[in-house]
Amino acid sequence: MHINIDHIRIVNIDNIIEETPSIRTLIFRDKLSSNAHPGQFLMVWIPRVEELPLSVMISDKKMHAAITIRKGGFGSTALFNKKVGEIIGIRGPYGNHFTIIKNMKKALLIGGGTGLVPLMRLATKMNEFGINSTFVMGARSKTEVFFEKQANRFLKNTKHKVIVTTDDGSYGFKGSATDTLATIIKEEKFDRVYTCGPELMMKKVFALASEYSVSVEASLERYMKCGIGICGSCCVGEQLVCKEGTVFNEKDLRLMTEFGRIYRDKTGRKSHIVDYN
């Protein structure tokens, strides 16, 4: 039977992984999501509470997928507190996705927080295509580091490096993810840099990659309502993150005057992005 991806599908939470004290991964069975491309997202319905756009996380279980959520606001906390056996609704997957260049040899993945989710799905693709990858993960401190083991596992068939950085130096390299990028990109040649995380981090990644003439793809986040390209809430200039994104390449990013600068709130008012030190 043909499934309309815009219609909410009710799924059961089969398993929950505690990644950090404030981040959990919820695993559910859904064929469409299990086949999602890296960078695509789901609109996740927490019945009678909220609906949130969330990047599709990978699950080891066949026909399963996952979402990784940081508790924070009203909706994300309600989702974080869901128990095994409870239900949520999903629609999608929506949006475009990270792309792999033909004959690609080396990739660099860099992200932080729940921005690591689409990069994890991308890591499995790198493994599948035999592309050597360096994966830089930024966190504030040791307690907030997650996905390190999984990233090594997802990349196991390729020559790979997973580098963790913490702002306070309590684990891995001390400093930001982009500090590490600044060092690596000088020494090694990459075919493409993929990034997802705090927007000011991505802006630095874009600036560094541009300096060294390396192609970039960044997965952006904006406040969303419909997820299907009609309401306009998620616009960055003339582009819609839900439809033309979430992934934009260096050509798009160069033309986006709002990238790394302007974010629209629920009312549509513009405010300045201040998410990264």
Binding site: N4, D6, H7, I8, I10, M43, W45, P47, R48, V49, E50, E51, L52, F74, G75, I87, G89, R91, M224, K225, C226, G227, I228, G229, I230, C231, G232, S233, C235, G237, E238, L240, K243, R264, D265, K266, T267, G268, R269, K270
Partner: protein, 310 residues
Amino acid sequence: MKQNSKYNNDILRVNISSLSLRNPTILASGFLGISQELFNKLYRYGVGAVVSKSISTQPMEGYKNPTVVSLGNGSYLNAVGLSNPGAESFSKEVISNKQVPLIISLVGSTDSDFLPMVKKFDHLNICGYEINLSCPHVTQMGMEVGDDPEMVNRIIKTVKSYSRKPLFVKVGVGNSDIIAVAQIAKDAGADGITAINTIRAMTIDIETSMPILSNRIGGLSGKPIKSIGIRCVYEISKKLKIPVIGCGGVFTWEDAVEFMLAGASAIQLGSVIGYEGIIAFSRITSGIKKYLERKGLKNAMELIGLAHKY
């Protein structure tokens, strides 16, 4: 601009009150309507005019998600809750507007809400107003105001007393007779009527027994309401002899032509964007053009109200 020349075509040009549009396709209020850069893009893609999201005196967050539900078969249910950046912020957004024929949709509870808003927009490069008297899912705004004849009269008189720009009133199918509301609007000095808005509707998820929209009840748009829209446009334009902009489930050039034959001077597009994006404007426009040529008509305005004589 060379890119625009294919949309500047006299056969498609329509006049509605004092407005002259290069073609009869207009972006309906509520869709894609908060970014000047998006308006510019829509104009590049061939839109005849753009109606903004409904703007209120103060910023509004709207309802929590889910606010939009796709029902399939070309229809949506929405209760966005009139989220908008407010008049002050939005007037700054559109201050740079140069070439887009931009109609500002305004919403408010009383006549006193409207004058300060009109004062913020009237000196900008905008081509008119559309007063939203028909949003079916926010209390004391939209339709609830439209159901109060005296308030409708006062709002329109207030806006017209200050502005010389054309004023359209968007009406819907609700408690009050749509023709009666349109009549009041006309008598108060409105230059045209936009018909129709979404129609109060609901959807329930059968696995959880829960209404999906956070507001439970919302407005139905898209293909299922087209024939209701045709009927309203036909009756309003025939009885009231006032310019009407048709809205409701236009997906194809055939739908657009049908609205014009019913009496619409132009048509608004919304739900179709969810299916094919903003390319819909040029596709529908070129369909209308071919139809006009096949029928041997010199201008799209010759279609307006042709069905009235039968």
